[in-house]
Symmetry: C2
Subunit: 419 residues, 2 copies
């Protein structure tokens, strides 16, 4: 069990911040949160307390959309829009992951960087390679990252180097599912996106997801050119989302990245099914896709979580992703003639943390019974002309996103990083 | 003199990158650039060569708009628009700089951070305090930052704690100019912005600028509320820019920050006078001011340079400012229905470096005769699946903006940072 002492910060509700100054955050032997207390309950007298002094102890992040094999191209090739970018930079990079040694080296580094940056849960795309996907899951497990990883399925439009036959794709997926024997990292069904998957493959993936009761992740309505292409490929579907729905890839354990250009009908279909929108602010900007109307989606009652979407996004740090989310909402507000409003720091932080908890079958914030996922931040190096409140320090930490300020990371109740 | 060896990168023209792999960058005893060479000229045989191996040696940055006394509020108070933000956060923070000890402490740190981040030239706002302004100039000079600093003039609308009388403002400015005895840091006339300065003060500042042949910096057309306020204050002026022009604060050594909402007429007036637009992308986003049409301004032939505008901007690093500039141009492109285009990495880098050279009476890039301003970047820690070209490595460095990657900084031909 763990007893952490410091300024405890969590987001129990969209837009709300709970702060307990010099409080205690306690988890049990299974890593489950017992509670947050302003004074140490009697029953823990004499137990070891990890006292972090005046540091901030806050919920760590859930990065609900990122592409592991794109990590080595982070910050490159940002001069193209989606489809050209995929063909020119992304697919050739991913094709390298047929090499297991390369996968081991890159994924080892990625897993460590995630932890160092305070990301303890993920929903991640691998490449189409089964072996590399298992290596990725192994490296995440070892580093202490929890969550879901998907072997990518793509049996069309991937070019010569990054395409499977339909049969290979299904066979490889079934084998991969059998070989997934990890404790903290679980499989998720991952059709890349509609243009990458034939109807036969989509149908089979829907069946596999149902049979094994697996969650699903894909892309939706990111770019106007992509949407037009999907319409050509599926004359039977009026809207993009229907191409997933018709193959049973559309339910309350489905993550759909982007949704920049989703119509009211598409948004309603997401709401009705309980599909999660994974907002990827930096990526949508870098690839000039557009600006997703997140304020509107929240008002409409949609489930919204955040993703770094590396390497469409250029920063792995979820501090950066939270700041980018606020910035994108302000751009959207400007585009809407200052009428739609923007996300506050507390709201964006909620989206980067608590909003994903239901996907992991948990309640929001540091709720009792949740597995303990948190980070310890030392902001004492920052200058100020007056003493700052914990809330002000929290706001600065989101904007200034200094990796080195993270002093400890706890994932699933285990200390996985400590300097 | 200095002989540096490495991959030499500079921007000799808007949108152009000059790369000399494993080349030599040589400056003379006065710190002036002799040239960039692919092999060491015979005459330097036997001289000491600082060999940076495969590292990148690139032009350092010119941050042409930032507020030194706002450094201690970096990353805070981003939930308000300009005028409310000034009154709630900014003016109370600046008021603290009547305390010289506090000024010394904060400005010492700021100067070091600028150098560590590769910013070697600035055009900077101090506060209205004469003593603190001299302390700021002293700290910049000691750290090796070159450029201009302005004691801010504001004799109205500053509140009780941050306002001078007109007489005090003029007297204090004249005293300050007499006491400025620095080699690399020079004074610049700095009316805060039209709402902060009475006509009497503006008139006097125009005279002082002319008498001492000093450059000028201020703010222009940042926010629609501000523009409406200026119209109320100056019913005699049709547009904001005229309020500067009428008092002789409008010429080819004038820096005007923001210009987000400048009309064609205002833009034409800038072009005709040779006024510099200082684009502050992050600040315009954080304060929800709007998105300046930089692509359009460049097409129209305006002079555009960049500013971090801390603490409206949330990052001091000009790597971050260059990335924010690209991102803002993409947002503008989205707002313009993908019709205006966006800035390439090379274009944005030019704006953050070479574009300001004419303000310092120099040519673009590493031109012969320019003072040597450069930084040495070690990007060997980044992972990749294949060897990258120097241009690709340059692009990544702009997006990934890792402060610790800067290994040496040379300002005015002097090594001011070296780890």
């Amino acid at each position: 069990m763990l007893i952490l002492k410091g300024n405890i910060i969590s987001s129990p509700k969209f837009g709300e911040l709970s702060i307990v100054e010099h409080g205690y955050l306690i988890s049990d032997v299974e890593g489950k949160i017992i509670g947050v207390f302003s004074t140490l309950p009697k029953e823990y007298d004499g137990k070891e307390v990890k006292d972090y002094g005046d540091k901030l102890i806050m919920q760590s992040f859930s990065d609900m959309h990122l592409h592991a094999p794109q990590y080595p191209m982070l910050g490159m090739g940002m001069d193209l829009q989606l489809i050209d970018w995929l063909n020119t930079y992304t697919f050739p990079t991913e094709a390298n992951f047929k090499d297991n040694d390369l996968a081991r080296k890159i994924y080892h580094r990625l897993a460590l960087e995630l932890i160092k940056n305070g990301t303890t849960r993920v929903a991640m795309f691998s490449s189409l390679h089964k072996e590399a996907t298992l290596i990725l899951m192994d490296e995440l497990e070892k580093a202490g990252v929890c969550g879901y990883v998907g072997k990518v399925n793509m049996d069309r439009n991937g070019g010569v180097d990054l395409e499977e036959t339909t049969e290979e794709s299904i066979k490889s997926t079934n084998e991969w599912l059998k070989e997934c024997k990890f404790t903290h990292v679980k499989p998720i069904i991952t059709p890349r996106f509609t243009p990458s998957c034939t109807n036969e493959l989509m149908e089979e993936l829907g069946k596999i997801a149902k049979e094994h009761d697996l969650p699903i992740q894909s892309h939706l309505s990111e770019n106007t050119g992509e949407i037009a292409w999907v319409k050509e490929l599926h004359p039977d579907c009026k809207e993009y989302w229907e191409t997933y729905k018709k193959y049973n890839l559309w339910n309350d354990k489905t993550l759909m990245a982007h949704c920049v250009h989703s119509s009211l009908k598409e948004r309603t279909a997401m709401k009705d099914a309980g599909v999660y929108v994974v907002h990827c602010a930096a990526s949508n900007n870098n690839l000039i896709s557009g600006v997703a109307p997140i304020k509107l989606m929240k008002k409409e009652g949609l489930r919204v979580v955040l993703g770094s979407d590396i390497a469409g996004g250029d920063q792995l740090s979820m501090f950066d992703v939270v700041a980018s989310t606020i910035k994108a909402s302000k751009n959207r507000d400007i585009m809407d003639k200052w009428e739609s409003g923007f996300l506050s720091v507390e709201e964006a932080y909620y989206l980067g943390t608590s909003a994903a908890n239901s996907f992991f079958n948990e309640k929001e914030g540091f709720a009792k019974g949740n597995k303990l996922h948190c980070l310890v931040l030392d902001d004492s190096d920052l200058v100020s002309v007056r003493p700052l409140s914990v809330k002000e320090r929290f706001e600065r930490s989101m904007y200034l996103r200094e990796k080195d300020a993270i002093k400890a990371v706890i994932s699933d109740g285990r200390i996985v990083y400590n300097i």
